[in-house]
């Protein structure tokens, strides 16, 4: 028995040999008693090795380790939350909404990339990312400012710059004045100043409401956009993972079934042809034996009869 055959035994006992190799070993064991003895000895060694018990970790190791892991977990999760707003904002603004798998993969890539860069809060963003974020904030501020101050003006304007006269109202003249001694003193309405105050109040109120409404609307849309982006990203990631898992399981099951049926068919076919060959050989030899026996007995009978007749004839004939 050579080293190659010995190695084949190891592979078969490890469950790593191909079907052809296993059959080759079958044939060897069927014909070689020395190989059979060697195989038996190896089999006992493998059984002994596989029966060696594994050491058991001490009680409480799991809980103790998990307790040590907890602070690290909290820190990591907090960092992820700190960076996730930016990440979702950036990735969401880049991708079309109808490609959730790609987006999920990109988000995952982003998570991995960022975590590879360290644990400190600021190191969650690289220098390039920080630059991009700063530029983004600056651009947003410029756009909001331009909109707020209506720059450039939304319509053409022309005219002369003149002092504003909103607070200038008609002043009391001589006709409005009477001498007190005349005894018909009437209270003079001071509607001029009332109008100015009312206008100012109305303007202020309108401006305030408009500002408040604008701020509220901007905040609400920003929050809504952020929430929507986060939800979309989470759902997309979940869907992608689910799809990938389902596809993988289905493919694996299909492959396993195909391989199993192919192997089974091959084995069945081999067994059937072996049996058929065996049967055919047995029948052939039985028939041949029968024919031979029949022929032999026929020949023998014929010879005996011929000899008997010849002897009888010889005996009957006169000497």
């Amino acid at each position: 028995m050579n080293a190659e055959q010995l190695q084949l035994m190891h592979e078969v006992l490890d469950g790593e040999a191909s079907a052809d190799d296993a059959r080759a070993l079958d044939r060897l064991l069927a014909t070689d008693p020395e190989a059979r003895a060697e195989y038996e000895e190896l089999r006992r060694l493998f059984e002994g090795l596989n029966a060696v018990p594994m050491a058991v970790p001490p009680e409480g190791l799991l809980a103790e380790t998990l307790a040590k892991v907890a602070p690290q977990h909290k820190r990591r999760h907090r960092l992820r939350q700190l960076s996730s707003g930016w990440r979702v904002f950036i990735s969401d603004s880049r991708r079309p909404r109808d490609r959730p798998r790609v987006a999920a993969a990109r988000t995952q890539h982003s998570i991995q990339g960022e975590h590879n860069r360290g644990n400190a809060v600021m190191s969650e963003f690289s220098g390039k990312q920080r630059l991009l974020i700063g530029a983004g904030v600056a651009v947003a501020a410029v756009v909001v400012g331009a909109w707020y101050f209506d720059v450039p003006p939304s319509q053409d304007m022309s005219g002369t710059i003149a002092p504003a006269n909103r607070s200038v109202a008609a002043q009391p003249g001589a006709a409005d004045m009477t001498v007190a001694s005349q005894g018909n003193v009437q209270p003079v309405p001071v509607s001029v100043t009332d109008d100015a105050s009312r206008d100012a109040a109305r303007d202020a109120s309108r401006d305030a409401s408009r500002d408040a409404a604008r701020d509220a609307s901007r905040d609400a849309s920003r929050d809504a956009a952020k929430d929507a982006a986060r939800d979309a990203s989470r759902d997309a990631a979940k869907d992608a993972a689910k799809d990938a898992s389902r596809d993988a399981s289905r493919d694996a099951a299909k492959d396993a079934a195909r391989d199993a049926s192919r192997d089974a068919a091959k084995d069945a076919s081999r067994d059937a042809s072996r049996d058929a060959a065996k049967d055919a050989a047995r029948d052939a030899s039985r028939d041949a034996a029968k024919d031979a026996s029949r022929d032999a007995s026929g020949d023998a009978a014929r010879d005996a009869s011929r000899d008997a007749s010849r002897d009888a004839a010889r005996d009957a004939s006169p000497q």
Binding site: L6, Q7, H10, E11, V12, L13, D14, G15, E16, A17, A19, A22, R23, L25, D26, L29, E41, R43, R44, L45, F46, E47, G48, L49, N50, A51, V52, P53, M54, A55, V56, P57, P58, L61, L62, E64, T65, L66, K68, V69, A70, Q72, H73, R76, H77, R80, I111, Q112, H115, N116, A241, S245, A248, S249, A252, A260, D263, A264, D267
Partner: protein
């Protein structure tokens, strides 16, 4: 692909039983191995869940792998206390480096490799000669009858003694194959060797083990 896992072992290959007859080999490839537990979630799914903030996912990973990690460390250091410390260090490192894990490889390969590296590092640092805990926390083997059980335990004891005399490289490759039940492919990933080299190293290590066992008789 769903991960296959049996309490603390690296079951990424078809379980052939302890030592199948060659004639039943093809059948063993087709039949599901009864010892294998197929978990609902793969290691990678658990890693993703943990990254998403789910601590329970990490507890599940630890439950799966604390025993092989502990055994890997114990196999190198032979001291229960050191093996325990290494197991803790390995899982803390896993938390720190989880983003470095490449799902192309098996999670077990990655974590086992960390365990081996940590164990070798500690061994180099300590370099002590105090007695080894050869018999620490080994469960009794499960036998059908007491006589067989005694026989099995004696054989296990002889094998453990023989393994202690072997080189670290031989012991590691045998432990990975027979105690952690890793395939040639996974052993290759852990030790960074190609499958052909794994096959020949295992073959040579077991041939040496046979000689040692014969000497111990």
């Amino acid at each position: 692909m769903k991960g296959r896992y049996k309490g603390g072992k690296c079951l990424d290959r078809v379980q052939p039983g302890h030592a199948p007859e060659p004639s039943s080999w093809v059948r063993s490839q087709l039949l599901p191995a009864s010892r294998v537990i197929v978990y609902q979630e793969t290691d990678w799914e658990l890693v993703q869940r943990y990254r998403g903030g789910d601590r329970a996912a990490f507890a599940e990973l630890m439950t799966r792998y604390q025993r092989p990690v502990y055994n890997a460390a114990f196999g190198v250091l032979h001291r229960a206390e050191d093996a325990k410390d290494i197991t803790q260090d390995v899982f803390l490192k896993v938390v720190d480096r989880l983003n470095e894990y490449d799902p192309k490889f098996k999670f077990f390969s990655w974590i086992y490799r960390i365990a081996l590296n940590e164990s070798f590092n500690l061994k180099r640092r300590n370099n002590r000669d105090d007695p080894r805990d050869v018999e620490t926390s080994l469960p009794a083997s499960e036998g059908d009858n007491p006589e067989k059980q005694v026989g099995d335990e004696q054989l296990s004891q002889r094998i453990r003694s023989a393994l202690m005399r072997m080189s670290e490289s031989d012991r590691t490759v045998i432990s990975l194959r027979h105690f952690s039940e890793c395939s040639y492919e996974t052993i290759g990933q852990i030790l960074e060797l190609d499958e052909k080299t794994v096959k020949s190293r295992l073959f040579e290590a077991r041939q040496r083990l046979r000689k040692l066992l014969a000497e111990l008789e």
